[in-house]
Symmetry: C2
Subunit: 159 residues, 2 copies
DNA sequence: TTTCTTGCAAACGATTTGCACTTTG
DNA sequence: CAAAGTGCAAATCGTTTGCAAGAAA
């Protein structure tokens, strides 16, 4: 896989992917990818839909779902299903990161962990070729911990 | 959290959980937990439903969903959403394990990794208290790798 | 010109909900 | 006997699908 260092790299890789799959290079597909790249981190189908509308580029939900699926296959986008939250996507960046998910408020924080990355890069599994991986860490963020301690409250929303 | 070494430990912990939450100890709830414990590893709501029927203990879907949710809250059951597969559950065992998911055939394999567990046990995150974690590794299992190589085939089902 | 892609609306499937009935505490 | 839990069927919601119309190649 080539390096996804910048916007053009993603677009080029998508272009190559479509070539390889003998699929058509429609304006919708590239417009969606361009919008995806504008998100600093996670987004949902809904927020992507809104973003497209704001950019005055109307696409149907069907096309959005189709294209996101393609982008996931092309390894340009990752799909995340966190406990109790709606499906989230993010562009597959050059730097892998883990996700800390607060089971009380649902907030997702990204953390870079060089040790862990090094470990995973070296890690081989028998009879299995790793493509990518996701580490989800569930727990309580400090804000919620404080809130729950102070007023012995129940969580915002139990996940 | 107490140790979940055997069947009784789970039941006792659920009992305590219901006490703490001031919730009722209905036969349905314990019947469902007992069935859950009979699965050697992953199961779905559907397979659990079937298992209940086979055990001649009829419960409604609503109750099944409710109770599974309780068991997840009680940390007796983990919920997994693997790419492209239906939601799976498993009892929260004493030994954590990672999941290798083949993106071609959808097979899920569990692997125990002492180094990784030790690492995670020691790992502290700033402003976050870890409760549990899941490592999902996506890739290609050897069977699919062989199949794809031999006849340059497309994957069974692209996830 | 042929096949792929799109948009729309209808269909789908897993999960949730409303409500009358039942059971626990 | 009051409150909580259950079963059932209908509702919901995110996602998929079928099909006619439009656009790449």
């Amino acid at each position: 896989m080539s390096e996804l260092t910048n916007r053009e790299a993603y677009i080029k890789q998508f272009d190559l992917f479509l070539d390889k799959k003998k699929m058509r290079k429609t304006p919708e597909r590239f417009a969606i990818l361009r919008r995806v790249l504008m998100f600093p981190s996670h987004f949902t189908i809904e927020s992507l839909m809104e973003s497209m509308e704001q950019g005055s580029f109307h696409v149907s939900r069907a096309t959005l779902y189709n294209t996101i699926q393609l982008l996931v296959e092309a390894q340009l986008v990752r799909r995340h299903v966190f406990e109790g939250l709606q499906v989230q996507y993010e562009k597959a960046g050059a730097t892998p990161h883990s996700h800390l998910i607060c089971t009380s408020c649902g907030k997702v924080k990204e953390v870079r962990d060089a040790n862990f990355i090094a470990y995973m890069n070296a890690r081989k599994f028998t009879a299995f070729t790793t493509n990518f991986y996701s580490l989800y860490v569930y727990g309580t963020c400090s804000t919620c911990a404080r809130r729950m301690k102070k007023r012995k409250a129940t969580p915002n929303k139990e996940v």
